[in-house]
């Protein structure tokens, strides 16, 4: 997929565990894992907002575009 999710990097920078982030954002650990592994088809603005708030970052810190060509 052309959109890369850099959630692992941000979690490591903030020294936060996935379980903790899932609890703060209000999603299941399974869904967070789907997001982290890049299997997600879409992300709601509300989820993105909650993640950015929890990790104190910008959407661009979590999501990146990589040209597949």
């Amino acid at each position: 997929m052309a959109i890369i999710v850099n959630l692992d990097v941000m979690l490591a920078k903030r020294k936060m565990q996935s379980k903790e982030l899932a609890e703060i954002v209000g999603i299941t650990l399974a869904n967070l894992s789907i997001l982290k592994t890049g299997k997600a088809k879409a992300i709601r603005f509300s989820t993105l907002e909650a993640i950015c708030q929890a990790l104190d970052c910008q959407p661009g810190d979590i999501l990146a575009f990589e040209n597949e060509e």
């Binding site: 999603i27 869904n31 789907i34 299997k39 997600a40 088809k41 879409a42 709601r44």
Partner: protein
């Protein structure tokens, strides 16, 4: 909800009974075939074209008692001949093998339909397996029409190639260009394929919904 359950149970029971009966008939057919009790006869019907209808003896048909004033039978037209053949072993194989293949595919289609009903009963309608099942059923229904057309061509070919008739010099297969829209396998097959594609699209939407975080 009550109606839905009733329809599903009735469909499931009907299909399972049909599968059971069909398997019994198929086994009986195979047993009779191997025992040799099936007989070596084959038959097919030939449609008569316009030129030869006049050559065939016409049966006498009249209105029944009390119906004389209601209608008159104006004309009776023979349109078909039944040709019965005594076949040798190779000839029997040539007839039985396609029939067995067709019967197997027919059984497989009913099993697929039964599996779809089971999945609906289990509340797992939108699964990829059902899309594949519907696609296969659609193709099978279309194939059945092709087999029908093919067999009519084979009949004509067989007649022209292996039989000689002094009365019938020309035979042709009959195509129905305007079939009944509700019973034509072509229409039904296409409908099933369209439903399968709608399913595939629905499944994609469901998957996207599930993978939206």
């Amino acid at each position: 909800m009550k109606w839905r359950k009733l329809i599903l149970n009735a469909s499931s029971w009907l299909l399972d009974t049909l599968i059971g009966l069909y398997v019994i008939i198929l086994i009986a057919f195979l047993v009779l075939l191997f025992v040799g009790k099936l007989g070596g006869n084959g038959f097919f019907s030939l449609h008569l074209n316009e030129e030869f209808k006049s050559l065939v003896d016409r049966p006498n048909i009249e209105p029944g008692p009390g119906m004389e004033g209601v209608f008159e039978v104006l004309e009776v037209e023979p349109i078909e001949h039944r040709v019965s053949l005594e076949l040798n072993t190779i000839g029997q194989l040539g007839v039985v093998l396609p029939v067995l293949i067709y019967a197997g595919l027919y059984l497989y289609t009913i099993v697929l339909l039964s599996n779809i009903v089971r999945s609906v009963k289990a509340n797992s309608f939108f699964i990829y397996k059902n899309v594949v099942r519907l696609r296969i059923i659609g193709i099978m229904v279309l194939l059945s029409q092709l087999v029908d057309w093919g067999s009519s061509y084979v009949k004509v070919w067989f007649f022209n190639r292996y039989l000689v008739s002094t009365d019938i010099v020309h035979v042709r297969s009959v195509f129905n260009l305007f079939p009944n829209i509700f019973s034509s396998p072509i229409i039904v097959g296409l409908l099933v394929l369209i439903i399968a594609e709608a399913f595939a699209h629905g499944l994609k939407l469901k998957e996207e919904q599930e993978l939206t975080i």
